[in-house]
């Protein structure tokens, strides 16, 4: 069967009449796929409510503000989603997000000004950040895949160790006077929008395509759904898991770089507590903690929804002290709603 015969031509509407199939658009979108769009109405509702509460909400500046504040954590959601789909967990992402730029700042920031070592020139900062991310991923993957340790506990240990290392090298202080290269991603504007928003949107677009339309992406679902069956189908499961875990850590390092650039500093608590929001966004976005289920688009909607609600609350004049409590409440309510609409017990 020649490959050209399989080309997915949109004009080709004469589909085979599948028996009792529920589908829209001439069978191109099966009803099951619609679950991924479940959060879109919620996002629209929040947008309308936000606009009613405060007309500032839908203005471009405010929307860009929302997108920019969520860009870094959204990358963690992207990373965690991949890891969850292969039925693993990576709790250490939030510490990686702090440690990777932290190590770079430590090596680069001059001795007198901060508490850096000033060993490397500013140009090294970005490569070092990403390399630390990759190294953390390799250690995680080694322990989880090679030595077969429990992923939850391994990454929990890593979460604590990495946070401690950052506190150690920084002496619990904040690194200032970062080199220009580290500030770039957090401050630059491309085509009238902050670079971090572009990076976030492009990476999600790439992830949606990879997970939905490539053999590699589908192998993630196969591994998460039934690892033995994936092996039997000839998927090199260990290699895929390695790639996923290391990529996830590198993405966390990139997110850290973006956050440090935006804040022009690396605090020793950078990223602390983010992982809870990340999990909440992923689960609200329809990612199953049991693996093999959920889409990147859903995950993106999940984090977007959380940040829009936060923004609406702030604009509505809710005291900042109460935002934390409301955030937790929102997560619970969102889960309850997705249980009702999804109809299945979440395990």
């Amino acid at each position: 069967m020649p490959e050209t015969a399989l080309a997915d031509t949109p004009a080709h509407k004469t589909e085979e009449a599948g028996p009792k199939r529920t589908a829209l658009l001439g069978g191109r979108i099966p009803l099951a796929r619609l679950r991924d769009l479940a959060l879109v109405p919620a996002i629209v509702v929040i947008a309308v409510v936000g606009q009613i509460i405060n007309p500032v909400f839908l203005q471009a500046d405010n929307l860009i503000n929302v997108l920019q504040t969520m860009a870094e954590i959204a990358l963690l959601v992207l990373a965690q989603t991949m890891v969850l789909i292969v039925k693993k967990m990576d709790l250490s992402l939030e510490s990686t997000m702090g440690l990777a730029p932290g190590v770079a700042a430590w090596l680069v920031v001059p001795v007198g000004a901060g508490h850096g070592l000033g060993l490397l020139s500013g140009a090294w900062a970005v490569p070092v950040t990403l390399a630390v991310g990759a190294l953390v991923g390799v250690v995680n993957a080694l322990l989880i895949i090679r030595f077969g340790l429990n992923g939850f506990i391994v990454t929990l240990g890593m979460l604590i160790v990495l946070r401690g290392v950052l506190t150690g090298i920084s002496g619990g202080q904040t690194f200032f006077q970062l080199p220009e290269s580290m500030l770039y991603l957090g401050t630059a504007e491309w085509f009238g929008m902050p670079a971090s928003i572009w990076i976030c949107l492009v990476l999600f677009a790439v992830a949606i395509v990879v997970l939905g339309w490539t053999s590699f992406g589908r192998s993630l679902y196969a591994i998460g759904g039934n690892v033995d069956a994936a092996k039997a189908a000839g998927i090199r499961t260990d290699r895929v898991l390695w790639i996923v875990i290391v990529t996830g850590s590198v993405l966390a390092a990139l997110a850290g770089l973006m956050l440090s650039g935006r804040l022009a500093s690396v605090a020793s608590a950078q990223g602390n507590g983010y992982i809870f929001t990340v999990f909440a966004a992923a689960v609200i976005g329809g990612i199953s903690l049991n693996g093999g289920k959920g889409t990147m688009f859903g995950a993106f909607c999940g984090i977007l929804l959380l940040f829009m609600i936060q923004n609406v609350l702030t604009l509505g004049g809710v005291p900042a002290q109460w935002i934390g409590a409301l955030n937790g409440l929102i997560i619970l309510v969102a889960l309850a709603i997705s249980r009702i609409t999804g109809g299945k017990v979440q395990e």
């Binding site: 069967m1 080309a7 589908a23 339309w213 053999s215 589908r218 196969a222 033995d228 189908a233 998927i235």
Partner: protein, 521 residues
């Protein structure tokens, strides 16, 4: 990797003569030795399967069947011996594609991925690619549709694979195997989870494919099925090859003798009734109604009586039995266990009222696999292990030891995790738990599913023994051997009790009643 270039060939080529010259065996294994540490799983075993035949492989649990399957499918290398396909040696173990073109196995354990669609499962890791090297979902769907209709599998390729019934899943797996070009398929206990009608459909499918040149190796505990569908039979016992003969030339008694190593008498259908009419009935069910699955079910089980509840899958027999023990609640009607009326839908209440219970699927509801035999066997009777919530280990082990001896569970001791036992012994542990509290009513759902011949006899003997002590027994099953010793069998069809058959029935009467066929009409 050129996954995209590999194409499926669903066209039913009658017997691939290019690769398998007729006459040469499809597969031949000789002198296979396989050791796992000190255990010898296969000891010089051999099997020869000729093109177009359906070959049965039988043997008790632990006879080496599963190990042979993993050697034949290239999942494990044999320590000694040779495997040839159509005369040429087997491919390297790492060359999965080459193995898949020669042999496929439909395991008891599903090898589909429940969260993906049927279409994607069929073409996993070999999705066709469209423009830009991305997967063309339309192409995948179309090829899945073609493949399924070529082998007339009536399944929607778009539905999630997790929604398929066991039967549909097997058909999908068979179709997938054929799409790789394999014309030799191993079926590992395919009928274990199917009801009578589905088994017949599976057999029709096997005969159909056989005519198209597909060769089968059929593994089953049900000797009846071997006689129904197979041409040749090979018996393994204790890791060795015992006999290979045409099915027609090997009478049932000889086959059982070959499996067990001793002559087994046919199970006596005669049994003196142990029904005690003067005592309160062990169970009385009045006008039980669930709304959807069954309705208007009324019957009694006397003390010491064994009552069968027969019916095909979906007839409601399992649901009625589960309602009796409180796993489900009925919308109307009531259940009375030994004179008590437990709160509907409460398992503890049913147990307290005097019920003991062997659930339908031991892997799901029967035991906690990693807990010890002692813990599992006493799971339902914490009250007998100590006072005020604290458990006494010594008392637990004493009680468990008694149960292990009583049920002849083959184990080095009560501390072994249940997952390390064979299927038959696992089921004995479940039975031990049901008997742990000397129940007045014993409810068994498919008590001998996936259990070898000897353990089955043992379990059924134990049931009879229990009935003699005055316990009422309800057996919900579609397995004729389970029902043979019942004093009477109630037959359910589409949620209603349609007939009652006294002991001494003929197989075809009961089967006809279960399928809702009237033989006299």
């Amino acid at each position: 990797m050129s996954d995209g270039e590999r194409t499926a060939t669903p066209a039913p080529v009658p017997a691939d003569n290019g690769r398998v010259p007729s006459g040469l065996p499809v597969v031949e294994a000789a002198g296979i030795v396989k050791r796992f540490g000190p255990t010898v799983a296969l000891n010089g075993a051999r099997i020869t399967i000729r093109p177009g035949e359906t070959h049965a492989l039988v043997g008790r649990n632990g006879a080496g069947k599963s190990t042979l399957v993993s050697v034949l499918t290239g999942l494990q290398a044999a320590d000694e011996g040779t495997v040839t396909f159509g005369g040429s040696p087997a491919p390297r173990l790492a060359d999965r594609d080459a193995w898949r073109e020669r042999v496929a196995c439909v395991y008891q354990k599903s090898t589909i991925i429940p969260t993906l669609t049927v279409a994607e499962n069929l073409f996993l890791n070999r999705h066709g690619r469209g423009r830009g090297r991305l997967i063309s979902w339309q192409g995948v769907r179309r090829r899945a549709q073609e493949l399924l209709s070529t082998w007339s599998v009536d399944v929607d390729p778009q539905s999630p694979a997790g929604d398929l019934s066991v039967e549909q899943r097997q058909f999908v797996e068979i179709a997938r195997a054929l799409s790789f070009g394999a014309r030799f398929i191993i079926l590992d206990e395919p009928t274990a989870q199917l009801d009578g009608a589905a088994i017949n459909r599976l057999f029709d499918r096997i005969r159909d494919l056989q005519r198209q040149g597909v060769t089968f190796l059929f593994i089953s505990h049900h000797l009846q099925e071997v006689y129904e569908i197979c041409d040749m039979v090979t018996v393994f016992r204790d890791a060795r090859h015992i006999v290979t003969a045409p099915v027609a030339e090997l009478p049932r008694t000889e086959l059982v003798a070959a499996m067990t190593g001793e002559a087994a008498a046919d199970r006596l259908q005669e049994r003196s009734s142990s029904l005690a009419t003067t005592v309160t009935p062990a169970l009385s069910v009045r006008a039980l109604d669930s709304g959807a699955t069954y309705g208007d079910v009324s019957f009694q089980v006397g003390a010491g009586e064994i009552v069968g509840l027969a019916g095909a899958a979906g007839s409601g027999r399992t649901e009625v039995a589960e309602t009796v023990v409180g796993l489900r609640a009925a919308t109307a009607g009531d259940v009375e266990i030994a004179g008590n009326r437990p709160r509907p839908g409460s398992v503890p209440a049913a147990l307290a009222a005097g019920a003991g219970f062997v659930p339908q699927d031991r892997h799901h509801q029967g035991f906690v696999p990693d807990m010890s035999i002692a813990d599992n066997a006493t799971l339902s009777v914490p009250g007998r292990l100590g006072r005020s919530g604290f458990l006494s280990r010594s008392r637990r082990d004493l009680l468990a030891q008694g149960l292990i001896e009583n049920l002849a569970i083959k184990t080095p001791g009560p501390d072994l995790p249940v997952s390390a036992l064979s299927g038959g012994n696992q089921q004995k542990v479940v039975m031990a738990r049901a008997l742990a509290d000397d129940p007045k009513l014993l409810v068994l759902i498919n008590p001998t599913a996936g259990v070898d011949v000897r353990s089955k006899e043992f379990l059924l003997d134990k049931v009879e023994e229990t009935a003699r002590t005055g316990t009422g027994v309800l057996i919900a099953s579609d397995e004729l051997d389970d029902l043979r010793m019942c004093d009477r069998v109630l037959v359910m069809f589409q949620g209603r009790v349609t007939s009652e058959i006294a002991r001494g029935w003929h197989d075809h009467d009961l089967v006809a009643a279960m399928e809702g066929v009237d033989l006299d009409a």
